[in-house]
Each structure stands twice: as C-alpha cells, then as structure tokens.
Amino acid sequence: MQSDATISVRQVIKNYGSFRAVDDLSFDVYTGEVFAMLGPNGSGKTTTIRMILDILKPDSGQISVLGGVITDAAKDRIGYLPEERGLYRSVKVLEMMVYLGMLKGMSRPDARQRSLELLELLELGDHTKSKVSELSKGMQQKVQFAVTVLHHPSLIIVDEPFSGLDPVNTRVVKDLLLSFRADGGTVVMSTHQMWQVEEMADRLLMIDRGAQKLYGRLEDIRQQYALHAIVVEGQGDWAALPGVDHIEHNGREGTTLYLKPEATSASVLAAIATAADMTIDRFELAIPSLNDIFIQVVEDR
C-alpha cells in the first residue's frame, strides 16, 4: 500500500445474499486529490463508500483508511455527505450543527464558532435560528454540506454533492470543495455529473456491476479513449484532404475527420495550410468527453 494513500482498497468483495454488489475491487485515493467515483445506478458505489466508512463490512479483502484499519478516532477525521441527505427537521440550524459537531469530537464552543463561520460563508448567516424544515431545498443542501466539513476533516466523502443545487450554489459548493483540496484535504466524490468530474477530479474510478472499468488519472483515461480523429471548423472539402478516411458533420460542434492509420494530426494540419481553398477556425484532437466514455463503457459491457 502506498504511503500517501488516504484510502486503500484491496480485492474487496461484498455480497448481498446471492447478489454480488462489489466484485474484487482495488484502488487507492491519494492524499490531497479529488477522486471521482463514477458508475451507473446500482453499480456498487454507495456500497463501496459504506465499506470505507465502516458502516458495512466487506466479505473479503482489506480496506485501509487514514493509515490503517478504520478506528473511531479516524471517523472523527472524516466528513460524509450521504446521497440520501439527512438532517433533523424540527431543530434550529445552529443547534443541530453544534450537536453534530460535538458527535465528531468537537467542543461546544468550537463547534459553535465554526458553524457560524461556515453559515456565514454559505450565505446562511440569517438562518442560524431557523428550523431546518423552514429552509429551501438548496439551503438545506448547503447546511448538509456545512455539516460535512464542520469538524475540519482531513477526508470528505461526498455522494452527489451538487444534486438539487442551482448554478450559483453549485459554484459555491464547488469552490468550497476546491479550497478544501487546496488546504490539503482529500475528496472522494461520487457523482453522475460528468462535466463536474472533468472540471474538478484529479483521478477517477469507474465501476459497473461492482467491478472496476476505468481507473487512473482523468487525462490518461481521456487520452486512452482518444479517437484517431480531429475536430475542425471552417470552410472546405474536408473529405478530400489526404489522410482523411471519412468525415462526420456534427452541426455546431464542427466536423470530425476520421484519419487513415498512416496519417497524423500534423500531416493533416500541413495539408490544410497548403490548400488554397480552405479556411480554418478551429482544429483540435477529438478527445471524447467523459460522458461519451461513460456511455461507451456501460454499453460495451
């Protein structure tokens, strides 16, 4: 196991009766990174997260968190944002946050101080005395996020952190996640919002039916799935270019030129430059979006 791994999962198997929810999964989450967990519904993400949090025990395999088998003390250094959000509904926001902070081992004054700071930061300073049930859904979501980072955890595990947030609040939460990473914190994020992963994640794990499909640096994976193709915008007869096998018009997204095996992007660029009747506004390698990769992986199974 690597020394800088905050989480280390090795050959973990979990069955529910005859159903195998997690199938021989191994991965590491490094300290100080945003690690994305992707996968279709029912692929085993939440089960894996629950095993990391010691809510469930694996049937076999080892999980090490924050330097070893998880302890109660280690749990105080973890923040968890469950997919199914949970707050006390008929309790005042500040009171509830102080209680949950104390359950993570904070002193009452510390928990209070930190809660007020976070609520201010999340623009909820006027709602400290409101009951949770009186808040809008977005506000509740922000309170839930505040609870997750309340106790200065060194690792946070967030399940669908952006669901139910408007663009403004999505930005607020995203900035908080990134500043958490900037301060040396580790983030494990499970989400379906691929563009968020593309923007934020350092590395990712994609699982399907409990088994690993993709694992590694985001850039490496996208390169791995890169097509032998180029996306261009401009004027000209793209299909007639030397080295181009066939083309595909994508409307506003430009035109994709699929290259012959012997051609390179450089040779195609040179050909365009020398052609008299062509103008070019855009020229880039066709790297598939994470969304495309996700769909491809799931459909290939």
């Binding site: 997690v22 029912g42 809510i55 025990k57 509904r89 104390m102 081992g105």
Partner: protein, 415 residues
C-alpha cells in the same frame, strides 16, 4: 464516553422542550388540582345543605328513645315532636327543614321514614344514624362509652415481615398509593420511551442516521438516548412526586385523603423497580424503533408492549381476594408485570421477601439481556430502510456478531 453524554444531553434538552412533554408533566398535576377544586366545592355545598336544612324534627312511634325532649347531642339540632301531625305542621311552617319517623316496629325492621320539601343530603343520614346509636346506647344503660358503640373497631395491622404497622385510617393509602405509583410510572416511562422510539424512527426516516453512524458507535447512541430520556422520565416523576406531596398535604381536610401519608419505604422499592423496568421498556422501544419503518408501525408495536405492562390491573379482583394467590405470584415473578404486581400486592398484604428478591433478580437478568440484545438489533437495523424485519431476522441479528447490514431487497443497495 463524551459522545454518549452529548447524545444524552441532547435527548434530554430536546425532549424536555416538547409541547407534549410539558403538557404531560404540568397538565396532569394541574388537572388533578382542578379535580380537587371541584371536589372541594361539591363537598362544601353538601355540608352547607345540611346546615341550610336547619332543625330536623323527629317522631318516635316506637318508644325507643328514653328522652323525647329536644336533644342537641354533638350539637346536632334534632327536635322531638309527639305526633306526625305536629311534625308536619312544623315542616309546613318552616320551623324545621325535615323530620323523620321511627315506625312502631322500628326495633325489628329498622324502618325510618324521612320527610322534607327539599332533597335529603347524604350527610344527614349519617347524622341520624349517629343520633339513633346514641339513643340506643342510652336505652341499654350499659357502661360502655358511646364512642365504642358508634365505632367498635379501630384496627391496627401489624405486618411482622415488613415491619410496617398501619392503622385503619391509612388503609386507603395502602390501596391507593401503589395504584398511583403504578399510574405515574406507566405514564412517565410510557411518555419517555415513546420519545425514544419516535426519535429513532425519525432519525431513520430522516436518513440522519447515516451521519450518526459515522460519528458515534451504536452503543454510544443507544446508551446516550436511554440515559438522557431516563433522566427525563425521572424529572417527570420527581415533579409529580412533589406535586403529590403538596396535594396530600392540601387534601388532609378531605375525608378520603385524611391520614394518608407519603409512604417513603414503598416509594424507594417502587423506584428500584421502576429504574430497572425503565431500562427494560426503553431498550425494547429502541429496538422497536429501529425495526419499524414508520411512526405508525412503531406505535402498533409499542401499544402491545404497554398492554403487557398493565396486565396486573386486569386481575385486580384476584389481587384483592388473595394477594398471595397463584396469579399474583406469577405476575410478580414475570419481569414485565413485576413492578405493578408488587406494588398492588403491597397494598393488600405483605409480600414474602423471597418473592421480591426473586422477582428483582429475574427483572435484572431480563433487563441486562434486553439491553444487550437491543444494542445488537439496533446496530443491525439502523440503516435498513423500507423493509420490515421479520422475527427470524431479528433473532438472527441478536445471535450473529454485530455488524451493519443492508439487504439487496431493501432497495437501498449501492447507487
């Protein structure tokens, strides 16, 4: 440990502020006070009615009474009239409020007819009775104080094994006090363990349980809840206890509360039973809360539990007939019915020491087992949503080594 106390403190303070708790704690004594006030007024009015009636005449056709001149024995204003016609005229003239007639065959039949234009208050009956007793005593001429004829028995029960001597005047205390204790306990523990159960159900349906289980151990959570709410129940009982002492003192002038004292030794034994059985109910309720899916479902379970609790009340007749009979003994030893059974029996007779010891022992063992078992069920059921747990699964959870599980069929698996 610190986390357990955080949970306990939170449960205590949160539930203390619940309107339903405040209503139960202060509403019941206030309601009782209001009842008192009504009783005071009613009794007061009855007393006045006798006085309002004024002088009561009588006609002695039997010749029983030696002295037919107006008497004011014990200050009672009775006036003798030679004939019913004379009495009738006095009644019509309103010189007397009522009159009664001792029939000629009074000695064999005891017939006394009363006449009045208004209703005859209850209190007048006992005055007539006392008056006639005095008359009979005089007739007998025996050397017996009048007091002994009117009240021949002033019983003192020497209960040798409990060392408690009770005079006849505290018999109501004997019978009433255990009942009151039992009711106070049922209400206090019912209210608080109900809060406990609702709290667990709420935390489950709110999904805040996911946050809690990553912060505290199930044992810390369960223990904190049971302690916090136990102290809450104790608070309630203390408030009611104080209210009870105040009311007993206030009520000394009422005939049915006269001579009732707060029985300290019984209260202490009751407290011991109550603490033990509070843990029994609370852990059971916590188990029910974690197994049930909704508040509605948990209420069905809990009402069954409460029903078991009050079984001894259904057998009140047996307890009165033969407090040391087989039914009371069985109910004393059965842990769920022990507290109320013991108290009821103490009301009617002494309970053999061995039975109290054995029942306390069984109760303790059962309580320890149930706290342990419900901690296991608790840990296991905390994150199971949407699926009711069968009895077999619950027994399985108690027997298996503790760990959280979810099932594929619960629909909560791995999203």
């Amino acid at each position: 440990m610190a986390k357990m106390w955080s949970v306990a403190l939170r449960e205590y303070l949160f539930n203390l502020r619940r309107p339903s708790f405040l209503f139960a704690v202060f509403g019941v004594p206030l309601f009782t006070l209001a009842m008192y006030a009504v009783i005071f007024i009613v009794i007061d009015r009855t007393e006045n009615n006798v006085d309002e009636l004024g002088i009561v005449g009588y006609v002695d056709q039997s010749g029983l009474l030696l002295d037919t001149s107006p008497t004011d024995m014990d200050g009672e204003p009775f006036a003798a009239y030679p004939t019913t016609d004379a009495a009738r005229q006095a009644l019509d003239a309103k010189t007397i409020g009522a009159y009664f007639v001792l029939a000629e065959d009074y000695l064999t039949t005891g017939t006394v007819d009363t006449y009045s234009y208004s209703s005859i208050p209850d209190a007048l009956r006992s005055r007539i009775r006392a008056f006639l007793r005095g008359g009979i005593a005089e007739r007998l001429g025996a050397d017996v104080p009048l007091e002994r004829i009117t009240n021949p028995v002033n019983l003192t029960i020497h209960a040798e094994d409990s060392g408690r001597n009770l005079t006849e005047s505290n018999v109501p205390a004997l019978v009433l006090m255990p009942m009151i204790f039992a009711l106070v306990f049922i209400m206090a523990s019912g209210v608080t363990s109900g809060f406990l159960m609702n709290g667990v159900v709420e935390e489950k349906t709110n999904r805040i349980m996911e946050i809690l289980v990553t912060s505290v151990t199930p044992m810390q959570l369960l223990a904190g809840k049971i302690i916090g709410l136990g102290v809450l129940g104790l608070t309630q009982m203390v408030i009611w206890g104080v209210a009870g002492v105040v009311m007993i003192n206030l009520g000394q002038s009422l005939p049915f509360l006269e001579g009732i004292a707060f029985p300290t030794d019984m209260a202490l034994l009751a407290l011991l039973y109550f603490v033990l059985s509070y843990f029994l109910i609370a852990s059971l309720m916590a188990g029910v809360g974690v197994v049930a899916n909704s508040e509605q479902e948990s209420r069905q379970f809990s009402s069954i539990i409460s029903l078991i609790w009050v079984i001894p009340f259904f057998f009140t007749a047996q307890f009165i007939d033969n407090p040391n009979g087989i039914v009371p003994i069985i109910l004393t030893l059965f842990p769920f019915t022990a507290p109320i059974s013991v108290l009821m029996r103490l009301g009617f007779a002494a309970v053999p020491a061995w039975q109290i010891i054995v029942s306390l022992l069984i109760l303790t063992v059962t309580t320890v087992f149930l706290v342990w078992a419900s901690a296991r069920v608790f840990r296991w059921g905390m994150l199971r949503y949407g699926k009711r747990l069968g009895l077999r699964e619950i027994i399985g959870a108690v027997r298996r080594p503790p760990q959280f599980t979810t099932t594929a069929s619960s629909g909560e698996v791995s999203k």
